[in-house]
Symmetry: C2
Subunit: 676 residues, 2 copies
């Protein structure tokens, strides 16, 4: 597949590699010591791994976002000092950055943060997630390559490396991701497992007795086991791993945590606290290393001076290749450039036709139509479901590459994630991090809980991952409380920087998707109904484009004298309209607002917000099939809430609505007893 | 270990077992068909497995909670119809119950719910969780057995069976739990894997290509692979599995989903919707089965009439054994009876001494002392951490069995869960479900997200699991935003039925633990600080026992004329007190309330709540290192909130407090600009 680049890099000698390793080891320990905070054990133990990886990585230190760089994910994010040492030798960071380790506002925070540090490909810290994100990155590489590369132009052609520790390998998300990677045959994914057999509680024999290599092999991985302090064994394994493009690779590197420390080597006490000035001095002396802080030997800095030249030459060669590619494959290249820039195609919005009012439609079904219309116009929209495709209705059957990706086949745009919600979220984030895609993934809203850490990471990293959550209310019915979301809308909205949409009908669904696609700086959750909903008749209600404002007056537009304000979201809007009608029959004046996205509403100008929620209008009734949490600020002291405060029940949707008070008579009774 | 009981049960013949299987198959399909809702595929495909399991299970159909029953967890909860068919043949349910399948208020809800149905050992539906809970149950069995059995009295001596599907095995939580079970050597845990290779999206070849048996073997499991429709192969594998008491067992049963259906067998379309009247009629005809609904052949009902007699005899034999045990081992038996009843020992509260005010103490450190004092008095308090023992400070070193449980050794009360938060939560729930323990587990508050589904299940099942979440604020400092909770307090409180405690000092920590232990009908989360906090001087403040009320006036008690009410939780209470002092210096009158548990406060009488939050006192200022969500109802229209609305930063705690506005001057400025 990949052509051998003409800029060939001679790997450094064993002696030099070992010196690079010691440089990484002690510069990392120095960071922790100077900050008097951090994790020195793994950086010192994995220094040889880092040295061997570092010299093999394809990067451009002047362009951290170069699309064809090798990706490197430090899944064991607590070893951040090691990553920063690598980035320093590569040229992304300075020694002054390292001296600022863990200080407020520095480029070297406690755990890797991609927006704080050039050259960091993913924010890590929550264990195992890095393996999951790397799986998505490695798939993204192949998906782009198979679509955009041409016989003589391997413009996308890189590896994705992960450095993981015992903790990562213990996490379920790493298992899920590795199982998926093995199934897909992600041959350019190489995980180096720093197997130091020590975790915070002590030796891994306390709890982690399994044969990790055999487990990985059972999942279709190629496995090596090497001495992780032997740079030649490590190098040979990595080179073989790079040759096997059919299977992902796991290099199990047996290491000693805090290698080189006379007293703390091999001990869990070296994991999460500075090893101490004396111990560090003794470790340096033991390796014949100068005592000074942040020492970089001349041979090492000379080597990287040369290496940086080679890195630039490699990049220039790619630039030339890409320039030729642009000439020869003009249209393909323009599309590739567009998707890499994260720009949507021109007139993409025209792809979507408004829904007619005649036929009621679940918003999940509307979402399916929207995704398919958009999918024809936006080839970079890719994704899938955690084994709920026919229920989430998230398959894109139109436009280019409508197939499903499967073992070794990457031309599809649809993915089967299996029943692996957590890895699905990580994988989706990995696609977004890689670039070239607007990824989505789907499961039932209630199972958002299984993948919650990935929404948080997406928000923290400000990436455009889209989480489709269908079956968004107790109206799922007979499947019962384990399948009925109650607290999920609130807990989703609790995550900073996320936007949570719950469209009221098919036409609001169009705008929810539009907002998600246009949002470049954060993730979106789109919550959709299982049950059919009427398509609101916009001839008598506000136009659907108002959806984008997050909350808007649906009925009657411009009514200033209303005494009761009804606010609802998603499938509860029809009930609000029906309640308003009943109130009008009683001679009351009402205003009904649809609130598809509270976060988007908060971004509106104050004037607009005050118009929608006028101070004088205190009789506010909110209807949402969830908990009150998150609504109290809008409800104010005088408001009424129609919602849930306990789990649901197994039964027919209509019977549940009756039991839970989601009917017009029940709401009217509540209004009466409030004395409105 | 286990003695062979003298009531030996002759397994039914192959022909009879096959008839039992067909009974289960069609009675299950009939339930789904009658409800016109549910999942017939797996019940029809796993009918032989269920038949073989059913005849081997040790139960007492008149006492669903008998402590020495075999546990059976249907991890694939969507196959609930199969479970209900089994329970009907066992005698727990009637045919009328089955006819009520999935109806509101019935004993046969859509997914198994332990409080709705006698004989259901765990609520399931979220995939994989059942394997995790069963792991905890199997450990509970050994932990009780090794402490309470005596040479001639194996009063605790049962198996834990799981029926799981492809979806369960794909979930990361199942991997984590199986890895832990393999490590611990839970030999009485037997998982039967209904490997029908079909999931909702289609064949598992779409996404699940791994060798599950090899993976399990790599984790220390003994593995069988059998024809899942061959009752003899199944029986032989189960019998061998029961003999191997050193390793958990995985019986991979290759089955055909919807076995017997002429058109839908082997197809994913049979998974989640009724197979249809005609198809079901054809399936029955194909097996020579009467067309009538809910048919139970005479041989089958005769067999179970006899079998129920044997079950009763088996129970009576155990009763006799237990009566002798009670005589011979009086004290041991009394303790066992007490812990099985879930009653705390007398005077358990006396074990805890109040903390002196001299020495500031992180609440996690206070928690450690409380747990150790309680641990000496309450032997059933057991648990551990997901590899953060020295950080969570949750090891119990006092009282009986202070060791750590490890491979084959179950006399300890402490557990190393490894970096497996999700399985840890399931395991903890499994201990609580089994009976005999008050289990706790621990991780950082921010990593609550990794185990969130288990808190939801604990709440749904109303069990006494205790979740200790330390490092409860941005004050964790340099570890940065991936490690700093922001939205977690809100998202925890969002879960119905849970109680979330965030004690303000060491002495409030005592009462938080006390409340968690006394709460018999639901889980508790205890959120504790990493940073040191002053021990509040109760000579000038309200007594610490007020903590139990959830919110109370700390200072000044009984002050009626205060114009500003400051409310804070946990580590933010000292800041509220300091702010109040500064306001008093300005001549303002204040009242400071500590709010360690909003849920406990909601349970107080209205009069008390109104006293704490008087209507007239509208200038309410809440300080909590989290988001405003959940506080707005208390803040009211006029309140002010000191909290976070975005992720944290890596830096020194004091610098972060400054940056995020958690200082007296910043709060005073906010009060000023509000015009208070």
């Amino acid at each position: 597949m990949a052509e051998t680049p003409s800029v060939t890099i001679v790997p450094p000698s064993r002696e030099l590699l070992e010196k690079i390793a010691d440089t990484l080891r002690f510069v990392s320990a120095d960071q922790v010591q100077k900050a008097n905070s951090g994790h020195p054990g793994m950086p010192m133990g994995a220094a040889e791994i880092a040295a061997v990886l570092l010299t093999r990585l394809k990067i451009d230190f002047r362009d951290a976002k170069w699309i064809n760089r090798d990706r490197f994910v430090l899944s064991a994010g607590h070893a951040s000092a090691l990553l920063y040492s690598m980035l320093c030798l590569q040229g992304f960071l300075t020694l002054d950055d390292l001296r600022d380790f863990r200080q407020l506002g520095s480029r070297t925070p406690g755990h890797p943060e991609m927006d704080a540090t050039p050259g960091v490909d993913a924010s890590t810290g929550p264990l195992g997630a890095g393996i999951g994100m790397a799986t998505g990155m490695a798939a993204a590489e192949r998906m782009l390559a198979e679509t955009y590369n041409t016989p003589k132009f391997d413009v996308i052609d890189h590896f994705t490396y992960v450095l993981a520790g015992d903790g990562c390998l213990m996490e379920g998300v790493a298992y899920e991701a590795m199982s998926l990677a093995g199934h897909l045959g992600l041959g350019r994914l190489i995980v180096v497992y720093d197997s130091n057999r020590v975790s915070i509680d002590g030796g891994t024999d306390l709890t982690f007795g399994e044969d990790v290599g055999a487990r990985a092999a059972a999942m279709g991985w190629r496995v090596w086991e090497v001495d992780g302090h032997n740079v030649e064994e490590l190098g040979a394994a990595l080179d073989q791993a790079r040759e096997d493009l059919a299977r992902p690779s796991l290099v199990i590197a047996r290491t000693t945590i805090a290698k080189g420390c006379p007293n703390k080597a091999g001990k869990s006490s070296s994991h999460g606290a500075p090893i101490g000035i004396e111990e560090l001095a003794a470790a340096k002396a033991g390796r014949g290393w100068p005592a000074e802080d942040f020492h970089i030997p001349a041979e090492v800095s000379d080597y990287f001076d040369v290496r940086r030249g080679e890195w630039l030459a490699m990049r220039q060669e790619w630039n030339q290749l890409f320039a030729l590619y642009a000439k020869k494959h003009h249209a393909l290249c323009r599309e590739l450039q567009r998707i890499l820039a994260g720009e949507l195609p021109k007139q993409w919005k025209n792809a979507v036709a408004p829904f007619p009012i005649e036929k009621p439609l679940a918003t999940r079904a509307a979402g399916n139509q929207v995704m398919n219309q958009l999918g024809a116009a936006i080839p970079e929209l890719v994704g899938g479901s955690a084994d709920l495709t026919p229920a989430n209705l998230t398959e894109i059957k139109s436009g280019c590459n409508p197939d499903f990706i499967n073992s070794g086949f990457f031309q599809g745009r649809n993915l089967h994630f299996g029943v692996r919600e957590h890895a699905m979220g990580c994988f989706t984030n990995g696609l977004a991090l890689h670039g070239g895609f607007i990824p989505y993934c789907a499961t039932f809203l209630v199972f958002h809980d299984y993948m919650r850490p990935t929404l948080r990471l997406a928000a923290l990293m400000r990436i455009r991952s889209i989480f489709v959550h269908t079956h968004d209310a107790f109206m799922v019915g007979e499947d019962g409380p384990t399948h009925q979301p109650v607290e999920q809308l609130a807990s989703l909205r609790a995550i900073p920087r996320i936007q949570v949409w719950r469209p009221a009908d098919a036409n609001e669904t169009i705008y929810a998707w539009q907002a998600a696609l246009e949002r470049k700086d954060g993730p979106t959750a789109i919550c959709l109904s299982r049950q059919e909903l009427p398509v609101l008749d916009r001839s008598s209600l506000a136009p659907a484009r108002e959806t984008l404002k997050g909350m808007y007056v649906l009925q009657p537009e411009g009514e200033e004298q209303a005494e009761i304000l009804l606010i609802a979201t998603g499938g509860d809007v029809p009930l609000a309209l029906a309640t308003a009608a009943a109130l009008r029959e009683r001679g009351r004046t009402t205003r009904v607002a649809s609130a598809p996205c509270l976060e988007a509403f908060k971004l509106q100008a104050e004037g607009y917000r005050k118009k929608i929620l006028p101070k004088r209008l205190r009789k506010r009734l909110v209807i949402e099939a969830g908990i009150v949490q998150g609504w109290e600020g809008i409800l104010g002291d005088a408001g009424l809430f129609i919602g849930l405060d306990d789990f649901g029940h197994s039964g027919k949707p209509a019977e549940l609505a009756e039991k839970l008070g989601f009917t017009v008579p029940a709401i009217l009774a509540k209004i009466d007893s409030a004395g409105w």
